[in-house]
């Protein structure tokens, strides 16, 4: 009945019709460009230097570990996954990040979170978010250096990258992100009072909104090219919107509006570029819906009740932890089976 299968045969047509893994990665990198461009327009060239530095660290670290592990360096680097991790972490960091901060983040991402687990395809956690979370808990001062739009001058840039910017100037650079400001507005302050006091430098809010829309544009490209499936972004944004709406309706004077949650911070970036990392996400389509919804819910819970203003990194990492469980309980029902899983393993199927 079954003749020997020839791998050469069926893959033959494949070679020309489906983009290989490397090209999937490059498409994701390409789709980050609108977001990165918009960010650097509003927040200065520091964003671009972050991305370039992180990508360079990523490739160098990956090559170094591959060499230690005695794996084919050129072939593996060619899949562009380390480059992508660098781009994603670089795009998440504040514009005034010194080189060593980026380096530490990338070591956590590439060496610890990815290669120590066996490299591409084997990492249970999203590497970029492991790097980001480590930096956020270890270097909180640097990680909140979000300068007001256009504040960082080009001649400061080198000093900033080199990490030699004087402390005084560093302090003057630090401005709150909208999420941060709203989070620390104080218990008694009503939302209306908070906004009336114009708590953010001019243009900050609209800058963040433009950035969010740029990520959305990149995400739309990925969806249109079928590089990512709709399940995770839709589930994540859906659950953010749902919970934000519930909170907002329950007490509009203390909770931010759903649109505010959607268009500030890393919500859209996370939904299209971070949560959709296939390696560390849930596997089945049903699992992906649960996974995305879980991230959205955790983002809202941490933002509202937790200690961190933005929460995408922690939410993604926490849901990464749940993936084995989600995978186990979201097996689809195959055609012809009565139910998704037979009662006992070992039963004659």
């Amino acid at each position: 009945m079954s003749m020997m299968h020839a791998s050469g045969v069926k893959d033959a047509i494949t070679a020309t019709s489906v983009p290989p893994t490397a090209s999937l990665m490059r498409w994701v990198i390409a789709a980050t460009l609108p977001g990165i461009a918009t960010m650097s327009y509003f927040f200065g060239l520091g964003i671009i230097s972050n991305v370039l530095l992180a990508a360079a660290f990523g490739v160098a670290l990956e090559a170094a570990v591959l060499r230690l592990r005695q794996r084919p360096i050129r072939v593996k680097l060619n899949d562009s996954s380390a480059l992508l991790t660098g781009v994603l972490l670089g795009a998440s960091l504040p514009p005034a990040s010194p080189w060593w901060l980026i380096g530490v983040g990338m070591i956590a991402a590439i060496v610890v979170a990815k290669q120590l687990y066996g490299g591409l395809g084997h990492n249970p956690f999203n590497p970029a978010m492991v790097g980001y979370a480590l930096l956020l808990v270890s270097f909180p001062t640097y990680m909140t250096l979000w300068a007001p739009p256009q504040e960082l001058l080009p001649n400061d840039l080198w000093a900033q990258i080199a990490g030699t910017l004087p402390t005084a100037q560093l302090d003057s650079l630090s401005g709150a992100t909208p999420l941060d400001a709203f989070k620390h507005k104080g218990e008694a302050v009503l939302a209306s009072e908070f906004w009336a006091a114009s708590p953010l430098p001019d243009g900050t809010l609209s800058a963040w909104r433009w950035v969010a829309l740029a990520w959305l544009a990149g995400g739309a490209v990925l969806l249109a090219k079928r590089i990512i499936s709709w399940h995770i972004p839709v589930a994540m944004l859906g659950s953010v919107l749902l919970l934000a709406t519930l909170f907002y309706l329950s007490d509009p004077s203390h909770f931010a509006s759903p649109l505010f949650h959607l268009l500030t911070g890393a919500t859209l970036f996370g939904a299209f570029f971070i949560a959709t990392d296939p390696v560390s996400a849930a596997t089945s389509q049903r699992g992906k819906l649960l996974y995305g919804a879980g991230i959205g819910a955790l983002v809202m819970i941490i933002r509202t009740f937790g200690g961190y203003p933005d929460a995408v990194a922690f939410a993604v990492l926490l849901m990464n932890l749940c993936v084995p469980l989600l995978d186990l309980y979201s097996v689809p029902r195959p055609t012809g089976q009565q139910k998704a899983s037979p009662g006992k393993p070992g039963e004659q199927p």
Binding site: D11, T14, A15, G121, T335, E347
Partner: protein, 551 residues
């Protein structure tokens, strides 16, 4: 096309059917020599019934069926048997093409048993690829009620056009063959499933159908998508029925046949012509005259391709079957069998070797194309880890090996190869486990037999002693205290286990008459031996007790 249902997944590989569907269906030249392999179907190989030197005609039986899943084999040319090997029979042709036919049968009047016997003696097997003996399939009605006969004309694999051309040239005859099968299995309804990329075959079928007013034959044109020709997928598409996992289409009252098989059935019944030739698609860029030919079974692939203008320097590999599920031939010196539906002589450019495999990134492409709604990415993971419990949880055995997952994998992982290896590994383990269980039962039977013999010996000894006691009248010193109660319990337990074994055997035999019952019969015999031993021991103990009380 409006009222068809959907199955999940599926892919759209380049069809590449143009190359072989442009020319008419013609006869291949009569081969000078044929090699007929004894295993031309699923199941047991046939047993030769000719010797070297025997003269045979086209249609003479040269190997008989032995066992249930097996099929007769007939000479495909007239001439002399030159060699009878362990796996094949060679016939040197005389160039005369003399035929030996069976008498013609009128299927509308013939008894079903006569039709079944005709299918049996004509050596017909499913010509779509699986090669299941047709007469066994026709007897399905003994166990299942069949309401619909599906003619599987989807032919969804790229390159292959054998069914397409068969229908264009023989639509009427295929439909007549379908009616024979429908009569045999009691199907009230015949449904033709055909992909919309075969407009000429559809036209021929429509034309043929116009002659069949009173009979309930329905033509359903389905959109082209691989693998809609999979039996389960087609039944889902046409009838919206799910064939149960591990079951057969007959479980939902459906029987599937491909057009080539139906044509062969008609030839066998109407013309008394056994299965000695079939339609083979010759295609690929390494031949200059592609097309479909009627080919005598046993014709050498090399000969066939050379007649079709083989460009040897350009040839990279020859694939038997389609590019999705077929297999590359290791040598061209291999004969056409009942299962050879297509030969692709491919150039390196046409079907290049796959790029190097890279790690799975769980992108889920494979999941989105799986026609059975499995999780191929998880199966891959567990297959490589040899985690059999997980493989079963993720339904490895529901995989139909269509290769859609491998086709879309961006990491070029040969997924289906993994699944096949895992499946055969698990099957082997199961066979081993059954064997070990059987050995254990044989051992237990032996122990029980020895125990029974021992008990018999004891009984004889006691009887002798009792006689001696009576004759000598001296008080016996047998002060051994007997545990009568314990023996009574053991006896009751042995009786119960005999009953249980009988019941199990009867139930299993009823459920599946085909199954081998050796092991269960062995277990019953063991229980019976145990019962006999217990009975003897009990009788002996009672005797002893009474003799102790009476003096």
């Amino acid at each position: 096309m409006s009222n068809v249902y959907d199955f999940p997944g599926g892919i759209y590989p380049p069809e590449r059917k143009q190359r072989s569907n442009q020319s008419a269906l013609i006869q291949a030249p009569l081969p000078g020599r044929v090699i007929l392999t004894l295993q031309q179907h699923s199941g047991q190989p046939a047993t030769p019934c000719v010797a070297p030197g025997d003269e045979v005609k086209v249609g003479s039986v040269i190997a008989k069926r032995e066992g249930m899943i097996c099929s007769d084999l007939h000479a495909s040319i007239s001439g002399t048997v030159s060699e009878v090997g362990t796996t094949q029979i060679t016939i040197d042709g005389d160039g005369q093409d003399n035929w030996e036919r069976l008498p013609s049968l009128d299927w509308q009047r013939a008894e079903p048993s006569a039709l079944l016997e005709r299918l049996n003696e004509s050596g017909i097997v499913g010509l779509g690829g699986a090669g299941f003996p047709t007469h066994i399939k026709a007897r399905v009605v003994e166990r299942h009620a069949i309401h619909t006969l599906v003619i599987n004309a989807a032919e969804c694999e790229p390159y292959i056009t054998a069914d397409d051309l068969t229908l264009r040239h023989h639509a009427n005859e295929v439909l007549e063959g379908a009616q024979i099968v429908a009569k045999l299995c009691g199907a009230q309804h015949i449904m033709i499933g055909i992909e919309d990329n075969k407009p000429d075959a559809i036209k021929a079928l429509k034309h043929a159908l116009s002659n069949y007013q009173p009979i309930n034959i329905e033509l359903k044109v389905i959109p082209t998508r691989y693998p809609s020709g999979g039996e389960r997928q087609l039944i889902k598409r046409l009838l919206n029925l799910d064939v149960p996992s591990g079951g057969l289409p007959a479980d939902v009252g459906v029987l599937c046949h491909n057009p080539g098989t139906l044509l062969a059935i008609l030839h066998a019944v109407r013309d008394g012509q056994p299965l000695v030739s079939r339609v083979v698609t010759l295609t690929g860029e390494a031949i200059t005259q592609p097309g479909n030919r009627w080919v005598r079974l046993g014709t050498s692939v090399r000969e066939l391709l050379e007649q079709a203008g083989l460009n040897t320097p350009e040839l990279h590999q020859v694939i038997q079957g389609g590019p999705m599920m077929g297999s590359p031939l290791l040598t061209l010196d291999t004969p056409v069998t009942k299962l050879t539906n297509c030969l692709i002589a491919a150039t390196l450019n046409e079907l290049p070797p796959p790029p190097a495999e890279s790690p799975c990134i769980r992108c889920g492409e494979c999941e989105s194309v799986c026609p059975v709604a499995l999780l191929p990415q998880q199966l891959h993971w567990y297959a490589r880890a040899q985690d059999d419990a997980k493989l079963e949880r993720y339904h490895l055995f529901d995989c139909i090996e269509c290769g859609a997952c491998s086709y879309v994998c961006p990491s070029h992982i040969p997924l289906v190869v993994d699944y096949r290896e895992a499946k055969s590994r698990i099957r082997l383990q199961r066979i081993e486990a059954v064997k070990a269980e059987h050995a254990k039962h044989r051992f237990e039977f032996r122990q029980a037999r020895l125990a029974r013999e021992e008990a018999e010996k004891q009984a004889r000894k006691q009887a002798r002693q009792a006689q001696q006691r009576r004759s000598s009248t001296s008080a016996a010193a047998s002060s051994e205290k007997v545990d009568l109660r314990g023996l009574r319990i053991a006896h009751a337990a042995a009786k119960a286990s005999v009953k249980k074994a009988e019941k199990t055997l009867a139930r299993v035999a009823q459920e599946d008459p085909k199954q081998s019952l050796d092991d269960l019969e062995m277990q019953l015999a063991t229980a019976q031996e145990n019962l006999k031993a217990a009975e003897l021991q009990l009788a002996q103990a009672r005797e002893q007790q009474s003799s102790e009380e009476s003096p």
